[in-house]
């Protein structure tokens, strides 16, 4: 007999469905799917207590490859469907697989409002800066001037930076990882699930067909350690192959320095505080970019506690039920303006 307090042990395979995965060979979605299976097994989630929701796009096929409850919905509306699932049953672990087009173009409104409400769902934002399923149009995260099938002379619009949107919507959790970096992806997904509230994990994902190497600067194995920084709460912001580079505050800005050079010591290097309510520094960190001489921030950039929408709804119902004993419609109606005939 298995005692009730012994948790069953799960393996990544337990979360795999019997469907053949049909993303292009080399697509970053494969890697993320593996990370997700692994994260769920680490979390020990029972598959029937997991609901994976998605919108439309390449990455939104993901629920079909999960041996959990899954729902492939319509373009852009996944965040709203996931909100409904979570409010109806707050005990479920609810995940949203979405892309940059699905989440930030057609679904932008639902994204910001889900984040604002702090619904306890995990949003996996697979950002490949391109529309893949429709074969190569620019997306809301494509850089200005980006040439694509729908912008043959380059785009004339600026992109969203997803972190800015999430912080603008007063998000409580934002993390980043790179599709091919499995260990850190798993870490981010585990952290996202553990966070109570809307967790946004931006995954820099490569579209091997229509936007190959778009994240090359930060994903290349050889240079990755120089162009990115893995932020860890409570730890010094150090990066580089030898962890000899650090982030410091310089006036209103952040600056990358080499410890021991130009008079900088380890004391000058910032310690990451993901839990501070003020998101000013989190914004600054999220805006760092190799293009402006700073490493791309990866890891959990922000994770603050706040009431969640789904539990708040439950709590309100409970609080009112404690005060009022009526549970049947007829009894309730009889307490109103009623006459007997």
């Amino acid at each position: 007999m298995v005692s009730a307090d012994i948790k069953p042990i799960f393996t990544p395979k337990d979360y795999k469905s019997d469907q053949a995965v049909r993303w292009c060979p080399g697509c970053g979605d494969h890697a993320l799917l593996n990370s997700l299976h692994k994260a769920m097994s680490e979390l020990g989630l029972e598959s029937h207590n997991v609901a994976v929701i998605s919108g439309i796009g390449c990455s939104s096929r993901l629920p079909y490859y999960m041996n959990t409850y899954g729902f492939h919905t319509i373009h852009g509306r996944g965040a709203a469907v996931a909100t409904g699932v979570k409010v109806a049953n707050p005990n479920l672990s609810v995940w949203l697989a979405t892309g940059d087009g699905d989440c930030l173009a057609i679904g932008g409104n639902h994204f910001i409002h889900a984040v604002r409400r702090n619904v306890d769902i995990n949003i996996m934002l697979l950002n490949n800066k391109i529309y893949g399923l429709t074969k190569g149009q620019y997306s809301p995260t494509s850089s200005r001037g980006f040439v694509s099938k729908s912008s043959p002379y380059g785009t004339v619009e600026d992109p969203f930076i997803p972190a800015e949107l999430a912080f603008g919507a007063r998000g409580t959790f934002f993390a980043r990882c790179i599709d091919v970096d499995l260990p850190n992806s798993v870490k981010m997904l585990v952290a996202a699930e553990k966070h109570r509230g809307t967790s946004v994990v931006e995954i820099f994902q490569n579209c091997v067909i229509f936007n190959d190497q778009i994240h090359k600067t930060i994903s290349e194995r050889l240079t990755r350690e120089e162009t990115t920084i893995q932020l860890v709460h409570g730890e010094k912001m150090l990066f580089g192959k030898n962890k000899d580079k650090g982030i410091i505050v310089d006036g209103w800005n952040l600056k990358a320095i080499v410890v021991g050079e130009d008079g900088y010591t380890i004391e000058d290097v910032l310690t990451h505080d993901a839990k501070t309510l003020d998101n000013t520094l989190h914004q600054k960190l999220a805006l760092m970019n190799p293009e402006n001489g700073l490493p791309m921030a990866l890891g959990v950039i922000r994770a603050v506690e706040a009431p969640t929408y789904d539990r708040s709804i439950e709590d309100q119902v409970k609080a009112i039920q404690e005060k009022r004993p009526i549970r049947k419609l007829r009894d309730l109606l009889l307490t109103g303006e009623v006459w007997e005939m």
């Binding site: 439309i56 899954g70 729902f71 919905t73 409010v87 109806a88 409002h113």
Partner: protein
């Protein structure tokens, strides 16, 4: 000199309470309406609020009215009024063309000063002459002054005193209709339970208003309105929107499934959301979302998690929800979509009523996307219709569109508080009913063609749904040609099979009648009255009024075959007529049409004139 007063016996009467938004006419109207119901009258009411949120005091756009139809044959909230209470010149002007000849106008002479007349855009000091009013019985009463005098000894502020004048008007009306005041006293005591002084002031003014009528005015005859006996039980006054909300709650209670509403405010449907957010003690989760699409999307999510899920909206919102309804069709999830129809297209006439969304409900989606459609017929029938819509949704695992309209949604009537034991059971088509092997998310019950509903979170039944076409057997994504046809047929077949479980179509009137009138939804009251009057005039006419639109009840064709002359009457350009023609394209059935789209309920006289013409046709 009461004994000299002539008492007029009448079958039905329409009373119109009208004044400035702040004059408390809704309260006077509601109390008198409940009093009439208690006295044994049938009642039907309709509020007429100003469109502006805060219209200038005394202006035409600031007039707030309450219409009450009471008597023994009440099918709707009435048309031309017999009695008008006008608290100011604007109220008189706005309503003057809504009066029968010979009707009584009780008006507050204190509020007919030069300035008041100016605010109501009168050019002269003779409002009645200016309006060309003739043949009406004018009863000028100094309501404001008399109210003030009545409360001379009360130690409450002047503003609170002035607010009591609606009770003086109510007292007058109670006298006019020979109503004892006991019930009103009781209602006022209840209403102002926490403010005993205000309660006493209201009671005093009410009683003085009554006595004023009795003692001073013998020039008008008072009324005795026919009563009817009704079923024993507890009654309350309910509007269509509230009844809709309660119908969902009742279905939730009966089925054991928690109720979820995802919605977004829109006129004239907002009251459904506002009612359901109150009912937390009953465990209802009702959420206001960021837009119409999120409203329905959260509901779809809640349905996936096993709730009775609904979304409420009006025409423009239904348009926004189209794609999501298609998803619910494809994913085969239970969902109730409530469309309180208003004037369209586009923003149209938000506060007016129409039946122009039928095509949108039936056909407004991409692909072959059949849904069940139910249409509520009266304010109280909104309860039954919402109950049935929920029952169909959960038993056939399908979206159902419930059509109501601005007229029945805002109108109200007396309603016997239902005993749910008398309502049919609701047995959700849950996966626990499945007793075969190799279940998947799309495994279908070959009996009613519904798939089995497995709530996310249920051990052993993980599955994936989605908007992509699925294989009939395995539930996996499929592009197969024959499979697509089979799935299209299954989804249509499921909707058709709903006809097995809905009540048969009723026919009001004689099967041998020369003329059959067909209607659907919220026009029931006016059509019934018109048909009733035709029959009383000896022109035999029958009415077939539809609550179940898609599918129609099984016996519809049988009834149709019995009639040579048929008129389909609706507030659109013939949407239901076209639907029926497509379905019942057999010899000898010819559907004529009566269509009126003015944003107003049908006029019974117009209906009768048109029906009589057809009736007389050789």
């Amino acid at each position: 000199m009461t004994d000299q007063t002539i008492v007029k016996d009448v079958e039905n009467v329409v009373v119109l309470f009208s004044g400035d938004s702040g004059d408390g006419m809704q309260l006077s109207g509601t109390i008198f309406s409940n009093l009439s119901a208690v006295s044994g009258n049938q009642i039907s009411t309709f509020p007429d609020f100003p469109a502006e949120i805060r219209a200038p005091q005394g202006s035409l756009s600031g007039v707030s009215g309450f219409k009450l139809h009471l008597g023994s044959r009440i099918y709707n909230s009435g048309e031309q009024a017999d009695v008008l209470v006008a608290m100011n010149p604007a109220a008189l002007k706005v309503n003057v063309d809504k009066l029968k000849s010979g009707s009584i106008i009780i008006y507050d002479i204190d509020s007919f000063s030069e300035k008041d007349l100016e605010k109501a855009k009168f050019k002269t000091q003779e409002p009645f002459a200016e309006l060309g009013v003739k043949g009406l019985q004018l009863v000028p009463v100094a309501i404001t002054t008399l109210t003030k005098d009545s409360l001379a000894d009360f130690e409450i502020d002047a503003k609170s005193k002035a607010k009591c004048k609606n009770m003086f008007a109510l007292g007058l009306i109670c006298w006019l209709f020979n109503r004892p005041l006991d019930f009103v006293n009781h209602m006022l005591e209840q209403k102002f339970k926490k403010k005993p002084q205000i309660a006493q002031a209201n009671l005093k003014v009410l009683s003085d208003g009554y006595n004023y009528g009795q003692n001073t005015d013998t020039s008008v005859s008072t009324y005795r309105v026919e009563t009817v006996s009704c079923e024993k039980g507890y009654y309350t006054d309910v509007s269509g929107n509230r009844a809709t909300a309660y119908g969902l709650v009742a279905a939730s209670e009966k089925s054991g499934r928690p109720l979820f509403l995802g919605s977004y405010p829109i006129t004239p449907a907002t009251d459904i959301l506002q009612e359901l957010v109150k009912l937390k003690e009953l465990g209802v989760k009702a959420v206001q979302m960021e837009d119409e699409i999120a409203g329905i999307s959260t509901a779809i999510g809640a349905a996936f998690a096993g709730n009775l899920a609904a979304t409420s909206t009006s025409g423009p919102g239904l348009a926004l929800k189209s794609e999501a309804i298609g998803l619910a069709v494809m994913a085969e999830l239970p969902l109730v979509v409530i469309d309180v129809q208003r004037g369209g297209p586009s923003t149209g006439l938000p506060t007016k009523t129409e039946q122009t969304d039928l095509n949108q409900a039936l056909y407004g989606r991409n692909g072959e996307s059949p849904v069940a459609v139910v249409a509520a017929t009266t304010p109280t029938n909104c309860f039954d219709s919402a109950y049935w819509a929920s029952k169909i949704a959960m038993e056939y695992v399908t979206p159902v569109i419930l059509l109501t309209d601005g007229y029945i949604a805002n109108g109200s009537s007396a309603w016997k508080i239902p005993d749910l034991a008398e309502y049919p059971d609701i047995v959700p088509h849950d996966v626990s009913l499945f007793d075969g092997e190799n279940w998947n998310g799309y495994t279908r019950d070959e009996g009613n063609l519904a798939r089995y509903w497995a709530s996310a979170g249920t051990p052993g039944f993980t599955h994936r749904l989605g908007g992509l076409e699925k294989d009939y057997v395995t539930g996996a994504i499929s592009n197969g040609a024959a499979n697509h046809q089979k799935m299209i047929d299954a989804r249509q077949g499921k909707i058709d099979k709903i006809a097995d479980s809905i009540p048969l179509q009723e026919l009001f009137g004689d099967e041998e009648a020369e003329l059959l009138i067909i209607g659907w939804g919220g026009t029931y009251g006016h059509l019934q009255e018109a048909v009733d009057k035709m029959n009383r005039q000896g022109k035999k006419t029958a009415l077939m009024h539809f609550q179940f639109i898609n599918p129609v009840p099984r016996n519809t064709g049988e009834i149709l075959k019995k009639f040579k002359k048929i008129i389909v009457a609706e507030q659109n350009n013939g949407q239901f007529a076209a639907f029926l023609r497509r379905k019942f394209d057999f010899d000898g059935v010819d559907f004529s049409q009566y269509n009126k789209i003015e944003g107003q309920p049908f006029s019974v006289i117009d209906l009768m004139n048109s029906f009589t013409k057809k009736w007389e046709e050789k």
